[in-house]
């Protein structure tokens, strides 16, 4: 009877453990020190590029703000010549501004990707530096120093990595001022249409992120449902005596921001972006109408 019991449970355990062997093999084929060094170099390069792109975008943005202030002042003073000249400058510099902002966003993405790859490599290396009892004192000291250095690099990288902001920049107020020519109104309409296209790409990007998070949420919910349904009536308890108080996982097991909250944050942002798209599309159409429907 007992043999049957052990045989059955043993077979089940082997069946369940079989996929683990394949997974370990996938994970094992790495040279940790070389991987960390190359990824760290790639990370530093991506970080430097992103910083340079940020400075370039910030410089153009500052100039743009100054131009907006000058434009507002000229409009208030009813200085049509200055307004016209400034609009020409806006038109000339707008593509460069867009290009630099896009370059900054792309460089941030590359920086983040490089950082994540470095974090994975350091994690893997730290895993292999688990102290062994057979090593000499000198070797242990060296490994400890290396371990601490890697850990401090890991923390620095994690704190440096750019956070993708889950909020939108304030939307600039675009209005038709007295004296705006049809060409100027049409230009403003195009600016708004460009912004609508950018928002459309942002919505697509957010949809992808929401879908990925939702898949992960579903996996975790299925796991929780399966566990809870067995625990509820004690079906999972194998009654061999002295039931232990259930020892739940340590604090670090629970995520700081639950996945449900992250999904909600992304959905709220998507809703806001869609509202802006609608508002800008309506306004751009209105501007085109006022400009006489030009192309």
């Amino acid at each position: 009877m007992r043999r049957l019991l052990l045989h059955t449970a043993g077979t089940a355990a082997i069946c369940l453990l079989a996929p683990l062997a394949g997974l370990r093999a996938q994970v094992a084929a790495v040279s940790p020190q070389a991987v960390v060094e190359s990824r760290q170099a790639a990370y530093e390069e991506a970080k430097a590029k992103s910083e340079a792109a940020r400075l370039a975008a910030a410089r153009v943005r500052d100039e743009w703000s100054q131009l907006l202030e000058q434009h507002a002042a000229a409009s208030r003073a009813n200085d049509r010549d200055s307004v016209r000249e400034l609009l020409a400058v806006f038109k000339e510099r707008s593509p460069e501004k867009s290009r630099l902002e896009q370059a900054w966003r792309s460089s941030q993405e590359l920086w983040k990707e490089a950082g994540q790859e470095l974090v994975v490599a350091i994690d893997d290396y730290l895993e292999r530096l688990w102290p062994t009892t057979e090593q000499s004192v000198g070797a242990a000291e060296y490994e400890n120093a290396l371990y601490n250095e890697l850990l401090s690099t890991l923390r620095r990288v994690e704190s440096e990595l750019p956070e993708v902001p889950l909020e939108l920049e304030p939307m600039p107020e675009v209005t038709i001022r007295p004296g705006d020519t049809p060409g100027e109104i049409l230009y403003k309409a195009r600016l708004m249409e460009n912004r609508v296209r950018y928002y459309a790409s942002l919505v697509a990007e957010l949809d992808q992120k929401i879908e990925a998070l939702a898949q992960r949420q579903r996996r975790e919910q299925n796991r929780r449902d399966f566990m809870t349904s067995r625990e509820r009536f004690g079906d999972d308890v194998v009654p061999i005596g002295n039931r232990r108080p259930e020892l739940s996982d340590p604090a670090s097991e629970a995520p700081r921001v639950p996945i449900e909250v992250r999904i909600e944050q992304h959905r709220e942002l998507r809703g806001e972006v869609e509202m802006r798209m609608l508002e800008l599309s309506r306004k751009a159409e209105e501007f085109r109408g006022r400009a006489g429907g030009g192309q």
């Binding site: 009877m1 019991l5 059955t8 449970a9 043993g10 089940a12 355990a13 369940l16 453990l17 996929p19 683990l20 997974l23 994970v27 994540q116 974090v119 994975v120 994690d123 893997d124 730290l126 688990w130 102290p131 371990y147 990925a212 579903r218 996996r219 919910q221 299925n222 796991r223 929780r224 449902d225 399966f226 566990m227 809870t228 349904s229 067995r230 509820r232 009536f233 004690g234 079906d235 999972d236 308890v237 194998v238 009654p239 061999i240 005596g241 002295n242 039931r243 232990r244 108080p245 259930e246 020892l247 340590p250 604090a251 670090s252 629970a254 921001v257 639950p258 996945i259 449900e260 909250v261």
Partner: protein, 381 residues
């Protein structure tokens, strides 16, 4: 006893209200799931449970089982460095058994759980994290049938836990102290049930090493080693004229992996139990494996969980070591579930389950086998 139990069940609720009232309106429903389903189950065996006085001549029984349940996780407060979370779980099962000779039984089983968990980072998380938890669990059975249709007896358990976790040499280290009281509230005609009443204190130290595979996808592997000391008293079990007191030490390890579509959790632990009576001294070990494969075929997911527990007494005895039925010697279980999303906020699940429990001293056993279909609705999805 019942009123006392309900009052105790309400304590964590009051704790929740007290903590949450200053921040009313900021609560967030993290997850809410309502589930219903039907199952068919079969039992076989000659296992005798001391706490079930009815004896029927059959060694086989079958039953249809209807089940309803609701489970919710609520983030009552969530700040950058602290959080308060409550978990509520309630369920009801109605059995329609067949195969008994004496009469028709109509067992009903309910379970309720309320857990509140408070977490706070110390010194912005640089020093560590404090966790405090209060849990009340109630399990009830009406019209409990004879064996082999084994249903655990009704009880109420109340638990308080405090723990501290910090980083040591690149690993997460934790120390947890847990106090628990379990009260089986025996009716007058079933005094044996009180034998299971228990008070416990458990001290556990654990070290966890994590390795993230990809931060955004949530992929990681984790190894955890733990050791524990457990002190149990059984105020209603008199062994050789003295109330039973057990001391146990345990050691164990756990490996957890999330990679791609696979989740794997392997848990092993061993226990050495000393008691004031030689009859209740034993070694026990358990192996638990849980695995989940998402999108194993099209949109179908597969979850499997198995457990194996073995116990060996240190001293041979002609008498029963512990309480038969609730404290068996060897046990194994295997559950498998296939799930599929059938609507935006509804999942369907088909589950198969098998369990076998046996004693060493009489070779008595019971097995349970069944399968069921469940629908799970998440109104907030």
């Amino acid at each position: 006893m019942r009123i006392d139990g309900v009052a105790r069940l309400g304590l964590p609720g009051l704790f929740v209200l007290a903590m949450a009232s200053p921040l009313a309106g900021q609560g967030v429903v993290q997850d809410l799931v309502i589930s219903g389903g039907m199952a068919g189950e079969a039992w076989r065996g000659d296992f005798a449970a001391l706490t079930i006085p009815q004896v029927d001549s059959t060694n086989q029984a079958v039953a249809w089982v209807g089940e309803w349940s609701a489970n919710g996780i609520f983030n009552l407060t969530r700040r950058e460095r602290s959080s308060l979370q409550a978990t509520v779980d309630v369920g009801f099962r109605q059995f329609a058994p067949g195969g008994f000779q004496l009469r028709r039984y109509s067992p009903r089983e309910y379970g309720a759980l309320l857990t509140t968990r408070y977490r706070r980072d110390v010194a912005d998380g640089r020093s560590g994290t404090l966790v405090a938890e209060a849990t009340a669990r109630k399990h009830g059975v009406a019209d409990r049938p004879p064996m082999p249709l084994y249903l655990p007896p009704g009880y109420g358990s109340y638990r308080l836990k405090a723990g501290y976790e910090t980083t040591l040499a690149g690993s997460r280290a934790s120390l947890t102290v847990t106090g628990e009281s379990a009260d089986y509230g025996a009716p007058a005609h079933l005094p044996f049930l009180d034998l299971l009443d228990r008070r416990s204190v458990v001290v556990e130290a654990a070290g966890t090493r994590s390795s993230r595979r990809s931060p955004d996808s949530g992929e990681y592997s984790k190894v955890r080693f733990f050791g524990s000391y457990r002190y149990h008293t059984y105020p209603r079990q008199a062994l050789e004229g003295v109330f039973r007191v057990d001391h146990a030490v345990g050691l164990g390890g756990r490996y957890e992996l999330t990679a791609g579509r696979i989740y794997l959790d392997v848990n092993v632990d061993g226990t050495r139990n000393w008691s004031i009576s030689r009859r209740a001294e034993y070694h026990a070990s358990r192996l638990g494996v849980q695995m989940q494969l998402s999108e194993v075929w099209r949109e179908f997911g597969l979850s499997v969980a198995s457990a194996l527990a073995v116990k060996r007494y240190r001293h041979q005895s002609e008498e029963y070591g512990l309480v038969p039925g609730e404290e068996a010697d060897n046990g194994a279980s295997l559950y498998a579930e296939i799930t599929r999303s059938v609507a935006r906020n509804m999942d369907a699940a088909f589950r198969l389950g098998w369990q076998r429990v046996e004693t060493s001293f009489t070779d008595a056993y019971y097995t349970r086998f069944g399968g069921g279909f469940f629908l799970r609705v998440r109104p907030t999805r």
